[in-house]
Amino acid sequence: MSAAEHTPAEAASGPIIRIEHLGKWYGRFQALKDVNLAIARKERIVICGPSGSGKSTLIRCINKLEDYQEGTIVVDGVTLDENVKNIEHIRREVGMVFQQFNLFPHLTILQNLTLAPVWVRKMPRKEAEALAMRYLERVQIAEQAGKFPGQLSGGQQQRVAIARSLCMNPKIMLFDEPTSALDPEMIKEVLEVMAGLAREGMTMLVVTHEMGFAREIADRIVFMDKGEIVEQAPPKEFFANPKSERTKLFLSQILGR
């Protein structure tokens, strides 16, 4: 299937991401076991679980930062396979925010934001800069546009990273532990930006340990352990009424109760 070709029915109404029987191995270690997950448009999913449970690996499979050996992933009607065109198409539509920000240190903030729109979307530079400034204002950091990433605090860098992804006008945003590398006082400013995004109807997959954020924002919480999805439920039910022992253990550890 070519990159631009969508299955019309599915593109309109079906899940925007469909993951079926996903399996991944690192050598003989199985990192993901028969993962099945369908995400609807505008749905906000928080994925949690103990470290090493495969939650980061799972979302990194969605834009093929990780290879997988079994199963299929379909993003917005395009099947993620070995076809480079399909991979690049999906990456254009899927934004990603990393734990370590991964801003380009040799470029200014503004250049970080305009690089992909100009070269991938072929947007005129002036237009890309205007777009970048709009997003920088939105994450309240416009006055830093001329600086380099190294001159910004962690929280500011992560907000720039979110703005950089948004400049590509993605349909889906993936967040891989976006606040885990931040000092406590900076976590809030990043979570606020993410909450704003959620209110606007962005489809989001968030790997995080911030249970307060999950409770407030998520439509559904997915709990993973040992490479499997153990349990998924809306936040209220998930916190009040966890079904599996593993979930209960995890919640007791992370919430201290």
């Binding site: 934004g95 801003l103 040799h106 991938v120 990433p149 190294g150």
Partner: protein, 367 residues
């Protein structure tokens, strides 16, 4: 160390305090037993070496006059008139004496272009055009054959112009080759990876001398009769390939030092391979390896002197040529010192310039 004289002292002394000589000495030269010993040893060496050098090089040296005066001081004083006598031969080799304004002019053009290229303000498209025209002009000057200039074949080229031609071309052409080899060695395509790895290891595994010998002696054996590739061109190609293999490994070091997250970020934004490589990977990887890269280029600049073994007389070679004159033979050391000075000035300029480029490249890196 005893030689470290700046920095700590100025920092330690309170601002505006009068300089205390004893205190300064104690702090900088005798701060510990080891430092005291090193200071004394250094001082001893200076006393041992400097006065004889000054006597030979300045006090007893012959600055004017003729060969007889040099003969009189032979062994005790330097004969600097050797350089005055032979500088045209040292600087321009066997290029016809009357036509030596041509290589001189070429050298001026080349140095002017280099100087302009070093300045960031001139990094504009027209600089590329200037180089193109410059190459054309330099070619016409050196070869001649048109505009009433007599034709001079490359086997007459020599001296400083030849050294500059060989090393500027070596650096300019080996750099892109090295980037291609370094990227190729990390390619996902096994064939490209094997070719690049094989080339690098093969060329790196033999001395430059043997590369030059091969270029000069073996390549003609493989060529069909009647086909002849110019000897200078063959030597130049050999030096470019050799330098390329070395610098490729330096660049690969920079590629490996790049955090994986940078590539993932570029991937996740949908940048293609060449965009990712050109905008994210190479700018960071290259700026990381400026010091070792310049190190390689400085080595290349000096290694061009090896072309003497295939009968090309570069700066070093023509200095040896000058010393072949039986009358002046005893004074070849002076000639070599003169040549060494030119090499030093060139290499030192290159090193200083690399510091400037490093500063430019690091401007964003305040992690």
């Amino acid at each position: 160390m005893a030689i470290e004289m700046t920095g700590p002292a100025t920092m330690a002394a309170p601002a505006g305090a009068p300089r205390d000589v004893i205190g300064w000495l104690r702090e900088n030269l005798f701060s510990s037993p080891l430092n005291s010993v090193l200071t004394l040893i250094s001082f001893g060496l200076i006393v041992l070496v400097v006065p004889p050098l000054v006597r030979w090089g300045i006090l007893n040296a012959v600055w004017t006059g003729g060969l007889e005066r040099c003969k009189a001081v032979q062994g005790t004083g330097a004969c600097w008139i050797f350089i005055a006598e032979k500088y045209r031969l040292i600087l321009f080799g066997l290029y016809p004496f009357k036509e030596q304004w041509r290589p001189l002019l070429m050298t001026v053009v080349l140095i002017a272009l280099l100087a302009a290229s070093m300045n960031r303000a001139f990094w504009r498209p027209w600089l590329g055009l200037a180089w193109l025209l410059g190459y054309l002009a330099m070619g016409i000057l050196m070869w001649g054959g048109i505009f009433g200039l007599a034709f001079e074949d490359t086997d007459k080229w020599g001296g400083l112009p030849l050294t500059l031609i060989l090393s500027v071309n070596a650096i300019a052409f080996s750099f892109p080759l090295a980037i291609a080899l370094a990227l190729g060695r990390r390619s996902d395509l096994p064939v490209i990876r094997m070719i690049c790895t094989g080339f690098i290891e093969l060329v790196r595994g033999v001395p430059l001398i043997s590369v030059l010998f091969m270029a000069s002696l073996m390549i003609p054996l493989f060529l069909p009769a009647g086909v002849d590739i110019n000897k200078l061109l063959r030597a130049q190609a050999g030096i470019i390939l050799f330098t390329g293999a070395y610098v490729a490994e330096v660049i690969r070091g920079g590629l490996q030092a790049l955090p994986k997250g940078q590539i993932e970020a570029a991937d996740s934004l949908g940048l293609g391979y060449w965009q990712k490589t050109g905008f994210v990977v190479l700018p960071q990887a290259l700026s990381l390896v400026i010091p070792p890269m310049v190190n390689s280029f400085i080595a290349t600049f000096k290694d061009t002197s090896l072309v003497i073994i295939i009968g090309l007389f570069d700066l070093f070679g023509s200095a040896r040529l000058a010393a072949n004159d039986p009358a002046w033979r005893p004074f070849y050391v002076e000639g070599l010192l003169f040549v060494a000075l030119i090499y030093f000035v060139s290499c030192f300029s290159l090193a200083r310039y690399s510091r400037y480029v490093e500063r430019l490249a690091r401007q964003g890196d305040q992690r």
